[in-house]
Point group: C2
Chain length 173, copies 2
DNA sequence: ATCTGCTTTCAGTAATTACTGAAAGTTCAT
DNA sequence: ATGAACTTTCAGTAATTACTGAAAGCAGAT
């Protein structure tokens, strides 16, 4: 039985590591992704000190990344009565995780990018040269695509899990 | 008329900068994204030296990132007859860009991550403890979601632009 | 007012990632 | 074989990003 414990912990570490790598590839800081993985697979909420110990990181690092994760809406602060310290628990439902990430990335990254595309498009609105027209056209296509994808994302992210599944079925069927 | 040139170049720089920022946020190296932006908005193919000059970067840097972009299928090498040197031209169709990025990210990042999820899932297959079962279940949900999303991506990416638009219309309609 | 237990900040440092530039490699023409 | 015109590599360096740990801040208990 304790053998099982050991194997579980090993497996969990494998997962934490891989989730960290994946996060890094997608522009999320490695530690943040690892903390997320840790909490996602923790049966109980964890304190800052527990996170520090599990990942062998400093208090400052743990603190910053925990608060960032709260900012992304991926974990929540839990206070136990009688205890002064904060505990953290992760959202475990994958669909909900997806929705929150989608929403935040849109807000933080897509919207500003769209702003630039629009500005570049309108700055070249009246141009007469072939180059100017081509550039304007290219900006228009990018803007259309990005804003379209963004709207799609919104739509999907605001659906209930069940509805999304149904829609997906149509797709494959 | 030359005033227009100046404004166009300024605007193009704005775009190159923003595309670089966006790339960085999505885990792509800034310079690579900037070169991509530059070539996407260039009426003609460009040589390594022209890219170096336009972005004020070294030969090594230009070379590495140009070749990486070729690896992603986002730009192609063009050789002019009589000329020995290589020129580079970007795919400009946004749908095609999307398809290629989707395909590459799947191959490079999603598939390996899925591999780990499956391995973690099967390593905890037979566990009897509550923690073991919960972990196994969580891996299963993640695997289902990731592989589902990946399949969806495949599907969309292998569609013709027109078909995708139709599908999207159903969606909004 | 002071202490205790915790959270937050941040200057300094470490680790990682990206870039430079020069040298080596390649290819083709003579 | 030699050289010209390019491409490729890579050791060294710079820039960026992430982390540490100690100090400061804060809130409730005494």
């Amino acid at each position: 039985m304790s053998e099982e414990r050991v194997k579980l912990e090993e497996t969990r570490e494998e997962f934490v590591t891989q989730w960290g790598i994946m996060g890094a590839q997608w522009g999320i800081n490695r530690t943040m992704a690892q903390i997320h993985a840790l909490l996602m697979t923790s049966p109980n909420v964890m304190s800052t000190d527990e996170v520090m110990e599990a990942l062998e990181i400093s208090r400052g690092n743990a603190h910053t990344n925990l608060k960032d994760l709260v900012g992304w809406g991926l974990i929540r602060i839990v206070t136990k009565k009688g205890e002064r310290k904060e505990f953290f628990g992760a959202e475990k439902d994958v669909w909900e995780i997806f929705r929150r990430v989608a929403r935040e990335r849109k807000r933080r990254e897509i919207d500003p990018a769209l702003e630039t595309l629009r500005s570049c498009k309108s700055a070249t609105e009246e141009m007469k040269s072939v180059e100017g027209k081509a550039f304007h056209e290219q900006m228009g296509q990018l803007e259309d695509f990005v804003s379209f994808a963004s709207k799609m994302g919104d739509r999907v992210a605001s659906m209930q899990h069940g509805k999304a599944i149904k829609l997906a079925m149509k797709f494959f069927g």
